[in-house]
Symmetry: C3
Subunit: 200 residues, 3 copies
């Protein structure tokens, strides 16, 4: 199994988790919660595959992904209820930041290996990174996180995607550039959120 | 004409009708109303066809569907104005419940005949069933019905899709399983709505 | 370069500009502003290409479009801040009306040359014309302009698309019918907006 696949599975789990948290706070029923988690986890990658015209979609050939999220929904819902009391909004922002980093880098890497030019690949990374969360927020009738708090968001993904692209051009080993740039996006986003840094 | 095609046409008519009602209450102009009806009627099936990569889309090869809805828009708008005075919100919930049942079962059946595995087919059914209504509500700036009233919604579609899939596996005649599971979804949704049943 | 291509580039520029204005008023960071501009400029055409199954997408083969919008974002943001003080909401409505006209006619013309039947082509025009703006408004958490002010909107696009289709059938030179019907949509929309004309 390649590192990209592992990162994708991690991204799906984190995306589903942030879907659970937000859907739960809207008092949706268990299938509603699952549907929101499913949309958040697979939305970005599905858009990427549609834009690149890759079929069958990755979650069609791997139905175990969808079943896994369904089983997680049954377990996670009571768990989140307990967790929320302790950590409040921080949990959602952290899960969302992890998802932003992982989805962006998987997106840019898939776009690059599909032969997209560099700038387009970076945009595909940003779109894949933010789209699942935007869908989650729109379906849950929230202002998308990309503009909710007025702090850097899309720019973290954009910077990380270019960090990845430049490392690839410079001949850095693929595994290292994948991990490190995904991590960089997450850390950058969490730092600007915690320190209340604003770009204006 | 197969039963699936008939159910699809019924679903389109019901979907368009729920679009008329909601767009009308937003005081949109007649083409705006038509556009919302069009999106509600064809949104779920279009997403299903894009996910399954089926082209040309069903409403491209059958332009009579779109023309029919356009003609209905001219007739239905004054009719709804009168009807609404009598039945209020009930009409929208009923039309939406009928659409949920019909679209879900058409979706799961098309996904199955496109060779999708069972669990994916059930998810396609749920997505096709709820997507048109979600689009309608998002475009009309309403909270999607899937979470508006806190009552079972997606789970009705999910249960009905599995009822259909199990009947198919058990060798029940296709026509009977199509009709009965679409009906089951609609009745299930309307019952939980009327009796104020909540899953928590 | 054909006239359709020129109109498309104009539409992209105008669409991006209306995205800048709205994202700016939401205090998004520079990449957020760029992303909204990107979605507004390419959303309608991307949906059209997906519905027509045309790949690669036009903004993938022309990465200079995306780069142009990125550079414009850097320049336009301070410019808009100054402009807004003078012209307020009028600027957004004007940019949106220009985009409506240009995108609609490019959409109907591409659908026609892809062999779509007339009525479907007119619907593709309307969808391409309004979709970018609807996406822009949804991502920015605004009520879509198509229903924001209760004045004719979709119907302007619809009328202009049929004006184009009828001119084509009547053998009017393509260039003239392209320009004039795009202009007609914009003028029609701005007139009804300025004169406060309502269809009911």
């Amino acid at each position: 199994m390649t590192l990209v696949k592992i990162l994708e599975i991690l991204a799906i789990l984190v995306g589903a988790f942030s879907g659970f948290i937000e859907a739960r706070s809207k008092k949706m029923d268990v299938v509603g919660i699952f549907t929101v988690a499913f949309i958040t986890a697979f939305g970005g990658g599905t858009l990427r595959d549609i834009l690149l015209d890759k079929r069958p979609l990755f979650w069609v050939t791997h139905q175990e992904y969808a079943i896994l999220i369904f089983l997680l929904a049954l377990v996670a819902v009571p768990a989140i209820r307990t967790l929320r009391r302790i950590v409040s909004a921080k949990l959602l922002v952290t899960a969302d930041a992890l998802g932003l980093g992982l989805f962006s880098i998987v997106g840019v890497s898939e776009a690059l290996s599909a032969g997209m030019p560099l700038f387009i690949a970076s945009m595909m990374g940003v779109i894949t990174g933010i789209f699942g969360g935007v869908l989650r927020d729109i379906v849950c009738n929230e202002i998308p996180m990309v503009l909710r708090d007025g702090k850097p968001y899309a720019i973290c993904s954009f910077a990380g995607c270019w960090m990845y692209l430049l490392m690839q051009q410079a001949g850095v080993p693929a595994d290292f550039s994948l991990w490190s740039s995904a991590l960089a996006i997450t850390v950058f986003r969490l730092l600007t959120w915690a320190k209340d840094i604003r770009l204006e």
